[in-house]
């Protein structure tokens, strides 16, 4: 595991970004995709080999997976002991994320060869994708909390660029701005949290920080616990603020408003960023700092758990009413990330208690596969139908067989039907929740049922319901299903969605590095599967064929339906707060002060000089005798002063 190999993993996409960004339009207008895909293939192969090396060959020492700092150099030194070091850190979760990020990115790159074909800014698209991949890889390999913040911001920028890719559409521009501003606002909390934590721990380095803040005898932990504001310790503040940053990036309630709007970007982008990789950055951050959360600050961990659970339920309810297929998938993502968050929240540290941690990471892994598959399949459907709305679709199972089959596999996976991957990861999460917090367990169970319901509502509406009527042109002229470049990733991801469930994840990833042997409890498995099957059944009855049943059910639950359809008015609340309160109470007075007082001060200075000079210029009359008189007066004055007075 030489540093060069591992450093190449993020550097290959960076090189691709620079080459395509600088020269793409001129030289690589058509072949930009090939270059991007090739560099990603290299990265993916290197990640797989690193993962093989780490997990099976050399990572394990005495049965515990070690944190290996492959590379470390000091970038900026603030004080002795406090410096920003850049480096590459390998530990179970970062290696897992390397595999996930590079692999899903590779699938998206291949898919985009077909989806984005004919786009004018084809190479720019690939350069942005490479930038994103570089930033995400840098994020997961960070050794230092400041380094992760830098890459965090870079990921935000890449997301901004990609959401706003169709910059001619005002809705896309607005959505990219919204995403950036909301996550930036959350990052303010993140930064303050970093400062609090590093101030008390007197270091920015992850390993040292975690070690100091979890060792109950360390002076740093003592200072972090005793310092505080409003009765809450500084450590709790720091962790909560860091979590705020993570919640923004992972679209947890109430910082979730940007995720549905982010669907304005191209669909492969949604698959990569807003399903599999960027949005799990928040979960990754909590997982990275998990020892501090679990051992020193269980209060913050409870907040994490509840936020995750509420977000997942909230999103699931809204997803039942949305008609844009990408929005349904967006809310589904928010819901599944909520699962990952609360799985971390209910977890303990060390051995058996760390089941939640392993389950969360396992779900991250499987979710990346089937959510990317869902998005890519939705992209294929949109590519065929030229519309996002469910109302325009139906009966596509005959026209798009490959897409149909893989989409079905993904829906079954997310609904938690055995023996697909989603079943295993969800079952572990629910087991962990059952053992620590029954309320969250109940919420999660109900959400599982809702998940199955809305996913199959989506499935049936797209592929069954009614026969597909092509708008405008006759059937024969309509183009076929997607090209090979789009079908291949679907097939690969479909296979993975089936088999990844059987990976003994606990052997590799666990809260303390030791292998966690989780057994399969049949009793625990029954409840989620039952809820899932009930959800599927209800969806089948309501949506398999056209019927008036959905409308009657919506009517019966009028209030709740309206609220859910309007996303519970959260956007309106935000708009109200910003427009009415912030703009009027803060913005307008500030603008007034700037325009009148600051400008006024400067203008007054200028006016003073100008008026003064106008007054004084009268003295320059051009008349010699006037000058002579004043000369004389001056001489008299000097004589008086020097002879008589001094």
């Amino acid at each position: 595991m030489s540093p060069i190999i591992i450093a190449l993993i993020p550097l290959l996409p960076l090189a691709s970004f620079l080459v395509l960004g600088l020269f793409g339009k001129k030289y690589f207008a058509k072949s930009g995709g090939i270059i991007g895909t090739l560099s990603l293939t290299g990265s993916a192969l290197l990640s797989l080999s690193t993962a093989y090396n780490y997990f099976f060959v050399s990572g394990k020492v005495d049965g515990v997976y070690q944190k290996v700092e492959v590379l470390k150099f000091t970038w900026l030194q603030f004080a002795p002991g406090v410096s920003i070091d850049m480096g590459l850190l390998l530990d179970p979760i970062s290696v897992m994320m390397l595999v996930v990020v590079t692999f899903v990115s590779l699938m998206v790159h291949i898919y985009s060869l077909g989806y984005m074909k004919g786009e004018e800014r084809f190479s720019i698209y690939y350069s942005f994708l490479s930038l994103f991949t570089f930033s995400m890889l840098g994020l997961v390999l960070s050794t230092n909390i400041f380094q992760i913040y830098m890459f965090w911001e870079l990921v935000g920028v890449s997301s901004f660029l990609l959401i706003g890719y169709y910059f001619n559409k005002p809705s896309a521009v607005a959505a990219s701005k919204k995403a950036f501003i909301v996550t930036r606002f959350a990052d303010l909390g993140f930064l303050i949290g970093i400062l609090i934590l590093s101030f008390h721990a007197e270091t920015l380095d992850f390993t040292t920080l975690i070690q100091r803040l979890t060792d109950s005898s360390s002076p740093q932990l003592h200072s972090a616990i005793t310092g505080g504001l409003f009765g809450i310790s500084a450590l709790t503040w720091g962790l909560l603020l860091v979590f705020m940053g993570g919640a923004g990036k992972s679209a947890m309630f109430p910082l979730h408003i940007w995720l549905p709007d982010a669907m304005e970007g191209p669909t492969p982008v949604s698959a990569l960023i807003h399903a599999a990789t960027m949005v799990v950055a928040g979960v990754y951050l909590v997982a990275r700092l998990f020892p501090v959360f679990a051992l020193s600050c269980p209060g913050a961990l409870e907040v994490v758990a509840y936020v995750g659970a509420v977000s997942s339920l909230f999103a699931a309810v809204i997803a039942c009413t949305q008609t844009d297929i990408k929005r349904v998938l967006a809310y589904s993502t928010m819901s599944q990330i909520g699962y990952m968050m609360f799985a971390l929240g209910v977890s303990g540290y060390d051995g058996e208690q760390g089941l939640g941690f392993t389950a969360s990471m396992f779900h991250l892994f499987t979710h990346a596969m089937f959510k990317a598959l869902l998005f890519l399949g939705a992209g294929a459907v949109i590519h065929y139908v030229h519309s996002n709305e469910m109302g325009d679709m139906g009966g596509l199972r005959k026209k798009m067989p490959v897409t149909h089959l893989t989409f079905l596999i993904a829906c079954l996976a997310i609904a938690g039907v055995p023996p697909l991957s989603g079943f295993f990861s969800k079952e572990e999460i629910l087991t962990a929740a059952f053992h620590s917090n029954k309320l969250i367990y109940g919420m999660a169970l109900f959400t599982a049922g809702l998940t199955a319901f809305y996913m199959f509502r989506l499935y049936f509406s797209i592929f069954w319901k009614k026969d597909f009527v092509v708008h405008g042109h006759a059937d024969e002229h309509h183009h076929g299903e997607a090209p090979v470049t789009m079908k291949l990733p679907l097939i690969i991801l479909g296979v993975l969605a089936i088999v990844t469930g059987f990976v003994p994840f606990g052997e590799f990833v666990s809260s303390d590095g030791e292998a966690l042997h989780s057994e399969f409890h049949l009793q625990m498995a029954i409840a989620p599967v039952a809820f899932g099957l009930i959800g599927i059944l209800i969806a089948l009855v309501m949506y398999k064929s056209e019927s008036a049943l959905p409308a009657r059910v919506a009517d019966a639950m009028r209030g709740l339906y309206a609220g859910a359809y309007r996303k519970f008015y959260i956007d309106e609340v935000y708009l109200f707060v910003t427009k009415r309160i912030l703009f009027n109470l803060v913005g307008r007075p500030a603008a007034w002060i700037d325009k009148n007082m600051v400008n006024g001060l400067v203008d007054a200075g200028g006016m003073f000089a100008q008026d003064g000079s106008d007054e004084l210029s009268v003295w320059q009359s051009g008349k010699v005798q006037a000058y002579a008189i004043w000369f004389l007066v001056g001489v008299i004055g000097l004589v008086v002063a020097f002879v008589f007075i001094s």
């Binding site: 005798q625 008189i629 004389l632 007066v633 001489v635 008299i636 004589v639 008086v640 002879v643």
Partner: protein
């Protein structure tokens, strides 16, 4: 009261009255002539002080040169017959008060000092002036002398250039 003193008082009166009339006369020629008399009075003063050489230089240069030059320029620039305009009352009052005040001030400054003689002056002959002015040792004024001659040359050339009529450009 010796004759010497009386002569001094007469000459002084001549100088001051001529000067006062020169600056206040309304007709310009009269003003020039009063200036002339003033210059002659000053030459007389130099004679009384027994500096004959300076008196001669005064008459030759000032009276015979400068006043004549002034009269010529009056010819060139003045519409003969009309009177000079009077200054405004405010201007003359202010200037008069300033001059008077300054005069009193300076007189007071002068009066404060005790002037005592160093050694009496000997005869002032042209030979003595020449030997002492134009020697190369300490106290000699040969360099300023030469510089003044260059200055006179420059002034001559300057006057000619400034007062020259330039022909208007032929279109």
């Amino acid at each position: 009261m010796e004759v010497r003193d009386i002569i001094f008082y007469l000459i002084a009166t001549l100088i001051l009255v001529s000067g006062a009339l020169a600056v206040s006369s309304r007709q310009i020629f009269r003003s020039a002539i009063y200036l002339l008399f003033g210059m002659i009075g000053i030459a007389g003063l130099y004679f009384w002080l027994q500096f004959e050489f300076i008196a001669a230089v005064q008459i030759v240069v000032y009276v015979g040169g400068i006043v004549v030059l002034i009269i010529f320029s009056i010819f060139l620039t003045h519409r003969v017959g009309s009177d000079l305009p009077e200054p405004t009352y405010r201007r003359s009052l202010f200037a008069g008060l300033a001059s008077l005040f300054a005069f009193v001030l300076f007189w007071k400054v002068i009066k404060r000092n005790e002037f005592y003689a160093d050694q009496p002056m000997g005869e002032l002959s042209v030979r003595r002036i020449g030997e002492e002015m134009l020697n190369y040792n300490q106290g000699g004024f040969v360099l300023p002398f030469e510089v003044v001659s260059i200055l006179l040359l420059a002034a001559m050339i300057g006057c000619i250039v400034i007062a020259m009529k330039t022909n208007p450009e032929k279109i």
